[in-house]
Symmetry: C2
Subunit: 229 residues, 2 copies
Amino acid sequence: MDIRKYKSRDKVLVAVDCIIFGFDGKQINVLLIKRGFEPEQGKWSLMGGFVGKNENVDDAAARVLKQLTGLADIYMEQLYCFGKADRDLAGRVVSIAYSAFINSADYSEQISTDHEARWFPLSKTPSLIFDHKQMLDKAKKALREKVANHPIGFELLPFKFTLRQLQNLYEAIYETKLDKRNFTKKILSIKVLKKLKEKEKETSRKGSFYYVFDRAHYRKLEHEGIKFV
Amino acid sequence: MDIRKYKSRDKVLVAVDCIIFGFDGKQINVLLIKRGFEPEQGKWSLMGGFVGKNENVDDAAARVLKQLTGLADIYMEQLYCFGKADRDLAGRVVSIAYSAFINSADYSEQISTDHEARWFPLSKTPSLIFDHKQMLDKAKKALREKVANHPIGFELLPFKFTLRQLQNLYEAIYETKLDKRNFTKKILSIKVLKKLKEKEKETSRKGSFYYVFDRAHYRKLEHEGIKFV
DNA sequence: CCAAAAGTGTTTCTATTACACCCATGT
DNA sequence: ACATGGGTGTAATAGAAACACTTTTGG
C-alpha cells in the first residue's frame, strides 16, 4: 500500500502571515499593511509572504516581518495553519499564521516612517483580505488563553512598567475592569516582579514605582504552572 | 514594494500527519503504522499523506486517516505545522499535524485486521521516522492542556462508562493519582454526566453504575468556561 | 464469610472576591 | 489647599485538598 509517493504529488505555494500585537499603555493594537500587489492590491492585510524552497517556515515568518516592517528579533509563535483550498483568490496557497507581542511605543516610529505598516486598535480594524480576519480573530482568542498562564503580558509592556500599566494591559486583553488591590496582591504574590527605586512621574503627582519582569526567577518557577490571571 | 508574487515562487509538498490517541480503560495508546514506501520504509510512523492541489488541508487529514486505518467521522483537530526545511529526508515537505481522541476498544479490531496500523502504549512507543517523535510529544502536551478545559476526555471513553474508568483516564493523562471522593464530587458537580440505571459488572462483585456524557447539557454550559480537572 | 471494588461526608486550608480610605505631590 | 492618581488591609466566600469507613455480592 503506497499512499505516499513523493514524485507526482501536487506542490503548492506555502505562505506565512504575521499578526503583530502591540500595546500602547491604553489599548491593544494590531499591525496591518497596505497590500502592494494584485490581487486585492491596496487593501489592508497582515504581513505576509511566501516560504522559500529551502527555508524553515519559522525563518520565513521572521524574514517577512523584517522585510515589511523593519522589525527584527521579535519572538513569534506559530498560531495555526490555514489550509482551505480556496482561501487565496489567486491560487492555491496554504498559509501558516504567526503571532507576536511587542510594546508599540518602542517600535512605532520606526515602523510607520520606513514602511507601509500601521497600527490599528483592535476595535477599529479595517476589513482585511482573504481569511485574514479569521486569522486575527483566532490570534485574539489565543492571546486571551495564553496570557493567563504565560508571561507574555510582559512582552507587550516596556522593559520597566508600573503596576497600573500592567493592570491596564490585562483589562484591555480581557475587556473588563479589575480591582486594583486584588490585582496588586495577586501579581506580587507570584514573585516575578522586581520593584525599582525609580518612579514614573508622567501620569501622577505622586509618581508610581516602576517594576521589571524577573525573567531569571520566572524560569525557576515556570514548571509549577503559574496563573497570571 | 512587491514582496509577494505568485508566479515564480517556490512550490513545496504539503503533507498531513495524524496522531490518534486511544484509551483502553487502563492506559493511553497511540496509533502507529509501518511505513510502506521509501525513504524509511518499514519503520514506524504516524499516519501521513500528501495534500492534493484542490483539497482542504483538514479534508486531507480525514482522507489519509480513512485510507490508512479505515477510521471515518473522527473529529480531528489541527495540532501544529512542522516546517523545518530538512525535516523529511526525501525532499522539502511541510507537514501539518492533526490529532484525534477515540476509545481504542471500539475500533481496535477493525484497525489491526484491515490495516497495518497498531496501537502502542504511550510509554512503549517505538522510534519514529523524521520528526514524528516531536509531533507526538507536542500532541501529548496539547492533550494535557486541552483535557483540563474541554470535554475531550469523553471522546476517549466508550459511550457509557463508570466513574472509575473516567478517573483512570485522567490519571493516565496526568500520570498521577486522584482521590476518588474528591474526583467524584467535582466531576458530578459540573452536571454534565447522566447516571444510568445499568451497572457494569465485570470489574467488581458489587457492580458500578454507568454514566453517559450529556452533550446537549454541556453545550449550554460551554461558554462559562468549565474546568474538568 | 471473605475478598474486592463501589460509594459516600466532613474538616481544613487556600485562593478569590468585595470593599474604602489615606498618601504624596505639583500646581 | 486641593485635585490627581498611588498605595494599602481585612473580612466573607468559594473551591481544593486531605482523609477512612461502610456497602454489596460472587465465590
